[in-house]
């Protein structure tokens, strides 16, 4: 069987390499991707369309925001799928609860506890910065959401899963994960209601008279990034909590 796998890999690799001589040169300014009207448009028009200096965010959240909406849905599905497969119903109260093999007791290591107490607020503030600054500098909802989720996971690792789940119970993180997608979609639907195509943020300036169409685009990007961050951070924590406790949401690692 290993030989069949090797042959398949060599064949696929050969197929991928066989087109190499037809590729445009590395960094060629006249390659099809660089000279197409699409990339030209992004480079020339992003500033005038939305005033967003980070072109990548503009492509991601505005020009191709439809893809990003579904990517957010994909993240949501990943969390829902893990819950659907792993989650087991709560044990009956009378039933004997298996004691964990390594009982550590309530007092956790003071060094770890203190470090995390100092680190988590910084992490969360940094996460908010990354989310809020996505359209000006590298960052955005996915990255900031992951950092935010990581801060919850750190709390769960340091203090145990149960205290973390008291702060952020299952009902709440599932709800917030859905709310993230709702935020994203409602920006699109608001555009529909105002009579333009889905996710055409420009029209949202009618809601706030002081805002220009460009500002509306820029602010809407921030809005959808916040939605993305909600979903990503909550799903990060949901996946950790379910995997760490085999779906029982008790005890944990």
């Amino acid at each position: 069987m290993k030989w069949i796998g090797l042959i398949a890999v060599i064949f696929t690799g050969g197929l991928l390499l066989s087109a190499m001589d037809d590729f445009p040169n590395w960094g060629d300014a006249h390659s099809p991707a660089n000279s197409s009207p699409v990339s030209q448009y992004y480079i020339e028009q992003t500033m005038t369309d939305s005033g967003v200096p980070n072109m990548v965010t503009a492509v991601l959240a505005d020009y191709r925001g439809y893809d990003t909406m579904f990517e957010t849905v994909v993240v949501l599905i990943a969390g829902i799928a893990i819950m659907a497969i792993l989650r087991v119903a709560k044990q009956v109260p009378g039933g004997a609860k298996p004691t964990p093999a390594h009982e550590v007791g309530d007092q956790h290591d003071i060094i770890i506890g203190t470090t995390c107490r100092l680190l988590i607020p910084v992490l969360q503030l940094f996460a908010l910065y990354v989310i809020a600054h996505g359209h000006h500098s590298p960052g955005g909802g996915f990255q900031g959401g992951v950092i935010l989720g990581a801060s919850f996971i750190l709390a769960a690792i340091a203090k145990g899963l149960d205290p973390a789940l008291q702060r952020l119970p299952e009902k709440r993180y599932v709800k917030l994960a859905f709310v993230g997608v709702v935020i994203y979609v409602s920006f699109g639907v608001a555009c529909l209601i105002l009579g333009e195509n889905f996710l055409d943020y420009g029209v949202l300036h009618e809601l706030l008279p002081t805002m220009s169409a460009e500002e509306a685009r820029s602010h809407s990007m921030l809005g959808v990034e916040i939605g993305v961050a909600f979903t990503v951070s909550m799903i990060m924590f949901a996946i950790y909590a379910n995997l760490a406790s085999k779906g029982e949401l008790e005890g944990g690692l």
Binding site: L16, S18, S31, P32, G65, Y66, D67, A81, V181, V185
Partner: protein, 517 residues
Amino acid sequence: MAEQYPILVLLVLLFGALLVGLSGMADRRVCFPLTVTALGLAVAVSIGILQRVMDGGVIRYFVGGWSRPVGIGIELRIDTINALVLLTVTTVGLLTAIFSFRRVRDDKTEKTPLFYVLYLLLIMGLSGMVITGDAFNLYVLLEVSSLTSYALIAMGKSKRAATAAFSYIIMGTIGASFYLLGVGYLYLRTGTLNMMEIHQAILALDGPSSTIVVAFVLIIVGLMIKMAFFPLFGWLPNAYSYCPSSTSCVVAPLMTKVGVYVMVRMMLTVFGTEWVFSNLQYTQWLVGMAVVAILAGSVMALAQVELKKMFCYLIVAEVGYMVGGAWMANHWGMVGTIYHIMGDAFMTLCMFLAAGIFLKQAGVVRIDQLDGMFRKMPWTMAGFVVGALAMIGIPPTCGFFSKLYLIRGGMESGHWFYVGALLISSLVNAVLFFRIFEIAYFGKNPAEGHAAHHEEPSVQPVIKEAHPSSLIPLYLTAAIILLLGLFNGQIVELIEHSLNGVQVIGTEILVEKGGQG
């Protein structure tokens, strides 16, 4: 409002899923009505889309209004082919949702809302794949539909569901990665992701480009894994037979069929049939492989003792029909393929609905357990017979007409092996289904039937006829199978309308190929 239909069909499903997720946690009872309402609205909007396409031609919808240089935003592009497949997807979704009513009532776990969220998102992903006009957006929605289907299959109660889902994940991910690599290669050479723009860029290329050829191979191989084309079908039988009935009823009819649709779309719109059939000398091999797929699927179906497994191998054979029809470079072959996407979706749905009812009411897993079903469950068997006759290809049903078009295409383009395989496969189907009828009508061993009856009449548990919520979707499916057959002329006219619109499969190519062969 009408011009927003393309996005609305996805939005009602997405909002349905979000609402089920948010409110279903509090009260499980709202899940079912919300799901059925969302799917009902989606079907209504799909009908509206079909109406609009018939009246006004191709719909082009630019998400976010980014239309000035085409390709900066994402375009949804609907012609009559998409509209028909979209209607098929949403209708199958609605019928299976009605069928799943029993599941909610009997399910004691708290996973019902999660099931319906995944279910609605699966239908949304498939609908999105069907209507999109952007090669990368198609990948994103492929991810949505694949992930949801993995989870739905893994939710099965039997232990083998998890392992089946795992091998499906591995194969499905490889398939999706191949597709994505192919899109990357296309972008490298054309600089755009919009399907029509890619087509224009390929037409404008001077001379043959090996990048495009490799992209084409990667995309088609990736899709063939997704649609379970013959050598790459290993994941399908276990995944589709060990999952919950309401999952198999939606996954089995739709996943492979949408895969075939995407392949057809790639051939027609992205690469263009002139490029596909004139620059590639090896398309004949694909028809040959389709012949092997049809024969292998039929033979393996004959060897099965489990009902659902048998249907799964029939799906493998049916995919062979469609791939062969699409690659024979003939107008009627292509028409037959697209018609068969719809017909086969409903035929498979009918088979799996009946299998789900048999499993639920009588615990039937193996074919020989269907003993005496005509007497015990006459209403269910009536619906099953319609689907079975369609699978065999008896005239008033859609199965007959799709085979007719495919055979006509095979004869015109001189693919006699394909025609032969199709006829053999129909005979095998006849043997398979008449064997089932015989068992269900006369019992396993007709000669000994009387003796067994006298000895132990009370040992057998009483088998009740199915619940109306299971019978209604079964009958609607049977009715659609008959209607598709009766109105085949109009449907083919619609399909041809789009085929002419994008300049496909000119007869000159046919003549050229015929001359070579």
